[in-house]
């Protein structure tokens, strides 16, 4: 626990000093929402039916932006070597990075969700759905974080990462979209999507953290 606290403190300190990924995530997301707002004809289409899907695709790309350079310093400067010498388990490094990235994506999602509700004049109806959405975000961000060293090191790795990540995230994104429909009052609660989203998210978080040490070792 002590090592975990120290790692998290360091990652948090860096996050406080460098907001590049947070700002680029918010900027990209806001641009997308404004673009959707300008191009979707709200007289022809009910925004409620398409906005959740568009929002989650935007969240996914914001997540990629946030996590992409998560291990830049660790890999470029050999910090990962220093931590290995100090017997720091790689799983702790993964948990710490995932936590800071998770905080970042929550901030981005909150800003974008508020912007989307404002631009499309939609209201949150079922506040109970916020917790499952947070849990799904954790699953998405943990997978993106733990696979980011693959994409960081080489170009073919980037391609490979998206081939791995996208199919793995489809069930999560589907569940997230259905839950967001409930959030804005388009449909009633669907227990099976709630269950699938939550369980899949937890499974993905655990698997990503376990896999991380093998990715780094490679």
């Amino acid at each position: 626990m002590k090592k975990m606290r120290i790692l998290f403190k360091k990652d948090f300190l860096i996050s406080r000093k460098e907001f590049n990924s947070l700002f680029s995530g918010i900027a990209f997301g806001l641009t997308s929402i404004i673009f959707y707002n300008l191009t979707i004809d709200l007289f022809m289409l009910d925004a409620k039916t398409i906005l959740p899907g568009l929002l989650w695709i935007t969240f996914l790309f914001c997540g990629i932006l946030v996590t992409n350079k998560s291990f830049e310093q660790e890999l470029d400067n050999g910090i990962i070597y220093a931590l290995k010498i100090l017997n720091v388990p790689f799983t702790l490094i993964a948990i710490s990075k995932t936590t800071t990235n998770f905080l970042f994506i929550l901030i981005i999602e909150s800003v974008l969700l508020l912007a989307a509700l404002l631009f499309f004049n939609i209201q949150i109806v079922d506040f109970r759905m916020i917790l499952p959405i947070i849990i799904i975000s954790l699953g998405m961000i943990s997978l993106l974080t733990c696979l980011s060293p693959l994409s960081y090191k080489n170009q073919s790795g980037t391609f490979l990462t998206y081939i791995i990540v996208v199919p793995l995230l489809i069930p999560l994104l589907l569940a997230a979209t259905r839950i967001t429909f409930v959030l804005i009052g388009l449909i009633d609660v669907e227990q099976h999507w709630l269950l699938l989203g939550t369980l899949f998210s937890f499974w993905q978080t655990i698997m990503s953290i376990i896999l991380f040490q093998f990715i780094i070792d490679e």
Binding site: I6, I14, Y81, L83
Partner: protein
């Protein structure tokens, strides 16, 4: 008295692809010995240092430090110090934040005190709040050395790869007079600074044609 070896390398071989870099490396280092590892560029000094530290897997062979297999991932490794090519410092954090981060991960009783002492020895007190990426390469090297020396009392062995690179004359002198000369310190230093070796080294290991030659001083 005949001391037990701290480091044993047995039949070490390392290939990069089909290219052999190190062949049949066998040597022992006893507590307090100071080894200068020399050889021309590209002969495998850094590779050997990385293999000894457990950071790089050998193609075959065993490295043991304090009877612990350095390439067995399932066991806790003994405390060692290492300073290699990579900076091992977080560029966006200050000198103190970096050193404090590493010191807290080590079993040191009073990290702040230890950091203060080493900053004083290497005359780095005035840059304690400076961000790493704003420092000159010489200053970064000093801080990297300080990082590798933080748990020097607990270290079984200290591995340094060209530690004098980018250092000014005074810092080189400090390193040789105040660190290398500690009696109970076991070190392996990969270096091209051959002129100064005799002032601190007890043994020279030269890598030539993928093999080692050991010379007593």
């Amino acid at each position: 008295m005949n001391k037990a070896p701290i480091l044993i390398t047995s039949n070490l071989n390392k290939n990069f692809g089909n290219q052999p870099v190190l062949e049949n490396i066998n040597f022992e280092v006893k507590k307090g010995e100071k080894i200068a590892l020399i050889g021309e560029n590209g002969t495998g000094k850094t590779t050997l240092i990385k293999i000894i530290s457990g950071l790089l897997k050998p193609t075959s062979g065993i490295v043991q430090i304090d009877e612990c297999d350095m390439h067995n991932n399932n066991i806790e490794k003994p405390a060692i110090g290492i300073c290699i090519d990579e900076l091992m410092l977080e560029q966006r954090l200050s000198v103190f934040e970096n050193l404090e981060f590493y010191a807290k991960l080590m079993p040191i009783k009073n990290p702040t005190n230890e950091i203060g002492k080493l900053l004083e020895i290497f005359a780095c007190n005035h840059i304690v709040n400076a961000q790493i990426d704003l420092l000159s390469s010489g200053m970064q090297q000093r801080i990297n050395l300080i990082r590798s020396l933080l748990n020097i009392k607990e270290q079984k062995i200290l591995l340094l790869d060209e530690p004098t690179k980018n250092l000014d004359h005074n810092s080189k002198k400090t390193l040789m007079n105040k660190i290398f000369c500690k009696d109970d310190l076991t070190i392996i230093v990969a270096t091209h600074d051959i002129d100064n070796i005799s002032s601190w080294a007890s043994k020279i290991i030269e890598i030539k044609n993928n093999k080692i030659e050991i010379k007593e001083i």
